[in-house]
């Protein structure tokens, strides 16, 4: 049974339908990449999974149980953490406070302390800046903080919305190495990316969204050789 299943999910913003009934599966332990141009509905899909948006129809199953229509905080408690686009760190909190609120839904102090230690070991830059205001971090550090914060909720499924946005290529490579490591440690990841190369290198399966519908889905190796993807996203004629 897949960890996350979307069946015929439709989402509307007022009169405009942003998702025209999409089907998507994320298996336990995978990194699934969700690709597509601007406005294709990638972020909308993530926001629907994390409960920030309610689908107009269709079902979202997490671990076999329907979660569509649940408020976001209940979904976080079930084990889905969302790193929103543009990182969404709390700029006036210190790095340490940002991490602390990440564990907001948990009450096992010892477990939280251990996870915090694990995150700080994974992102040594954050340890150097624990007492600093998060707004003073560089873009890459902020992205690391946003991911670290999400990890403190100890999610089974991590939703990443454009982690490479606005970052230098060197930093993007670092971030993707960390994403792989988080996945190797046992967290399933649904990744939205515009950086198709990096995303397909990391992913074990890929979906391509086009104006609110799934245009194709396949293994990364196949997607990379597909003419459609090459033309649209890889800049190869």
């Amino acid at each position: 049974m897949p960890l996350l299943e979307l069946h015929n999910v439709k989402v509307r913003y007022g009169a405009i339908e942003a998702l025209h009934g999409i089907d998507l599966n994320v298996e336990q332990g995978q990194i699934v990449a969700l690709l597509g141009a601007n406005g294709a509905g990638k972020s909308t899909t993530l926001r629907t999974v994390s409960g920030l948006l309610r689908p107009a129809s269709g079902t979202v199953l997490f671990d076999g149980k329907p979660i569509q229509g649940l408020p976001p905080h209940k979904i976080v408690e079930l084990g889905i953490a969302h790193v929103p686009e543009g990182r969404g760190i709390f700029a006036n909190f210190t790095v340490d406070e940002n991490l602390a609120v990440g564990a907001y839904t948990r009450s096992d102090k010892a477990g939280v302390a251990a996870d915090r230690e694990r995150v700080l070991e994974m992102f040594p830059r954050l340890r150097e800046r624990l007492r600093q205001n998060a707004g003073t971090l560089s873009g890459g550090e902020q992205q690391m903080l946003a991911i670290g914060r999400a990890l403190l909720a100890r999610p089974r499924l991590l939703l990443l919305d454009e982690p490479s946005l606005g970052l230098a290529p060197q930093i993007v490579r670092q971030i993707f190495a960390l994403i792989r490591r988080i996945n190797a440690d046992g967290t399933t990841i649904l990744l939205v990316e515009q950086n198709v190369h990096m995303a397909l290198d990391a992913a074990s399966y890929g979906y391509v969204l086009e104006v609110g519908s799934i245009a194709m889905h396949d293994f990364p190796a196949t997607l990379k050789t597909s003419d459609q993807v090459r033309k649209a996203y890889l800049g190869v004629a």
Binding site: P72, H73, V83, N92, F93, Y104, T105
Partner: protein, 439 residues
């Protein structure tokens, strides 16, 4: 993983130490309140006796500002209805203490002991539970609860509204309370009370003229006890997971949702906590000698006064709210009877210096200029015998405008006085901070 978890447990302080630490704050608050109550009479020389009264007003305003800061500062929701909560609390308290005193003692006179006795010597009669002290404590808590209930009513629409729209709803709430109170009738005299049932007495709350006849129980003890409790609550909130949810909503509502904060519930919690303390402040206001508990005194003008305190101090800062309450309350009084202020100015310059790590920052200059201006005003008014009192509201308004032009984020910004230590450690000497407005 396992090993780290064990180590984390080892680092936790022992239970007895945690309990002692937790009790430290409340103990200091109670001690301070008792000491102030005992020695308040000898605090000011006779010619400055009016400051004794101002000190009580400062305390009530500290409660109002620190509690409003929980909604406006912590949670980032803009409320202009704080006076409404204050009125709900104040009138609930006055109703209970006036009509309740009659039911308990057959008259509406104060029956206070040491804790709530304005005149000396304190007439402590019998057990604590039999005195007006115990009754007033219950009245204060009831006032807080009544206002908290009103907080639920106002908090619920705020789930859907934000910014200007929420501000208008809260403003409307305050006005509804005022109009309702305006439509009541004069308080019943001792002879008339028995003729009316409890429920029908709620119609006699003084009307536009205000509520008269409630016993004056408000003393330094009660004011500073609850000011201390309010500050402690705000402080603990800021440091707790529960309270960080408020701050998270202010910083980034979507991100707050994404980490599992139920933003809808927390907005209501913020209103309820804030309203509870505003209600207590209203009750203290209602029982202070010399205050008029009238609808016209508790209209939006009062709400704006409290907002000014919070904004001047810095939205989100507890120390800022306290400072704002002190300044806004004391400044108009000071203009009546100017005294030396250089010591206060010096203290503020030192705080500003601590934040900038002993560099002459803009704020340091601002504080020095402010102190110099006040001292100059004092000198001129004495030398040329100008009565500043006549111009005090103009001067007060001008100083507000000047302050907002020069330091729009308020004195402390979102920081606290004790954050100076953090800035000190972080910033290398001689270099300017990268980001973040520091006072």
């Amino acid at each position: 993983m396992e090993l780290l978890a064990t180590r984390a447990r080892d680092y936790r302080p022992p239970t007895w130490l945690a309990i002692l630490r937790g009790l430290l704050g409340p103990t200091i608050v109670v001690l301070l309140a008792v000491v102030l109550q005992r020695y308040s009479k000898s605090l000011f020389a006779d010619e400055y006796r009016v400051w004794d009264d101002v000190l009580l007003k400062v305390g009530v305003n500290v409660i109002l500002a620190v509690s409003l800061n929980i909604v406006n500062g912590y949670t980032g929701q803009f409320s202009i209805g704080h006076a409404g909560f204050m009125a709900v609390g104040g009138y609930t308290a006055a109703f209970l203490s006036y009509y309740g005193s009659f039911a308990l003692w057959g008259d509406t006179m104060p029956h206070g002991g040491f804790l709530s006795c304005v005149s000396e010597p304190a007439e402590f009669v019998g057990r604590f539970a039999d005195t007006g002290d115990a009754w007033f404590l219950l009245v204060l808590l009831a006032a807080g609860l009544a206002a908290a209930l009103a907080g639920v009513v106002v908090g619920l629409p705020s789930i859907r509204l934000r910014g200007d729209y929420l501000a208008i709803v809260t403003l409307g709430f305050g006005e509804i309370v005022r109009v309702l109170l305006d439509s009541t009738e004069g308080t019943l005299s001792a002879e008339e009370i028995p003729e009316h049932s409890w429920a029908s007495r709620a119609h006699y709350l003084g009307g536009p003229m205000g509520f008269f006849g409630q016993p004056f129980y408000t003393t330094h003890f009660w004011v500073w006890l609850f000011a201390g409790v309010t500050i402690l609550t705000a402080y603990r909130l800021k440091a707790s997971t529960f309270g960080r949810a408020f701050l998270a909503i202010r910083e980034n509502e979507v991100a707050a949702q994404s980490i599992g904060v139920s933003t809808t519930s927390y907005k209501v919690y913020a209103f309820v906590i804030s309203a509870f303390f505003a209600g207590i402040a209203g009750a203290l206001y209602a029982h202070q000698l010399g205050n008029a508990l009238a609808p016209s005194e508790l209209c939006y003008q009062k709400s704006f006064d409290v907002i000014i305190m919070v904004v001047i101090g810095g939205m989100g800062s507890i120390t800022g709210s306290i400072l704002g309450a002190v300044l806004v309350t004391a400044l108009p009084e000071w203009l009546r009877q100017p005294t030396h202020v250089w010591h206060v100015g010096l203290a503020m310059i030192l705080v500003a210096l601590a934040f900038s790590r002993f560099r002459v920052s803009r704020t340091v200059v601002l504080m020095a200029l402010l102190t110099a201006a006040l001292e100059l005003m004092r000198f001129l008014s004495l030398h040329y015998e100008v009565n500043l009192e006549r111009y005090r509201m103009i001067l007060y308004a001008l100083s507000l405008i000047a302050f907002m032009l020069l330091r729009p984020q308020g004195f402390f910004g979102v920081y606290e006085a004790w954050d100076a230590v953090r800035f000190w450690r972080l910033r290398p000497r001689g270099k300017t901070a990268a980001v973040g407005a520091t006072p």
